[in-house]
Symmetry: C2
Subunit: 167 residues, 2 copies
Amino acid sequence: MAEKAQYEELIRQFSAFGAVKRELGRILPADCPGGSAAVLTLLGRHGDMRMSKLAELLAVDMSVTSRHVAHIADRGWIERSPDPADKRSRILRLTPEGQTQLDELSERTTQLLAHRLSDWTDDEVGQLAGLMARLRASFDDCRSAVPPRPAAPSAAEQSTRTPAITT
Amino acid sequence: MAEKAQYEELIRQFSAFGAVKRELGRILPADCPGGSAAVLTLLGRHGDMRMSKLAELLAVDMSVTSRHVAHIADRGWIERSPDPADKRSRILRLTPEGQTQLDELSERTTQLLAHRLSDWTDDEVGQLAGLMARLRASFDDCRSAVPPRPAAPSAAEQSTRTPAITT
DNA sequence: TATTGTTATACTCTATAACTATA
DNA sequence: TATAGTTATAGAGTATAACAATA
């Protein structure tokens, strides 16, 4: 358990991180904003998946996911095939054009980081990535562990989407 | 200089960090969104300053700063006094009410982090904060060092604001 | 003429709620 | 009745451009 002053310092760094995020956003292609880039990256990393799985990985509401996905589908970067096992679902898959776009994204961001972090060692980059991964994990763990009722959180409580109205 | 795969991993962590940011945003008081909180925090940390200095610390355009500042001034959390040395400028200063609001913010965010990072050591928290500070510094350095003409970047190039039209 | 700060407008990301079509 | 996904609407953050007051 750390000191309060350390948490305050950490919060300040979180806030300042926005500037880094914005600079990375500026190098994106015109019709591929951050949300689209995130979807392409996750599909490239984890392979074909359903909307709900993608929403979970993005850690945003399904409605948000739906809009990002529609945007990149309009541009032919992904295909949405019906899921034979469940006609409500759609399977998302990168098209060759999507892969090309993803390669372009990777090229640009990698190049920017290579410039900006030219004096960072391989080990330091790994440390930062590792600590940020652990940070995310610490927040994820608590999302299911903390809620009011300590026992067996329901599927609805863990869901990333707007709860349906239980009339 | 690190490997391309490491940069890609780092980018993924940057993207996932949004979930942490959003969770922190959810605990803010109703009339104190993230932008207002950032302004209060910087004024508490660095003391009285002018709009332009604040915009630089926030690393956003002055127009954005102006809106955040207007929001918290409307609530009586800061005073905007005319700068005797330059009548175009305004000096921003936390009011006692602003300090109270800032204390409340600090209390809430500290408490959330204490919960989420309960299994992090003091040293680990410090490492993450340190690496993020260095990350920001690496990006800042390049902002003034990289532009097209290598020699003596003009004031306009370093400014955080929309350049005036030079008619 | 240049700079400080404000305002108007537009774009991106997000969440909530209501809706559909399946299950 | 519950779930997968879509769409409409609203709120926050940001950037660009045009503007007023002052240097």
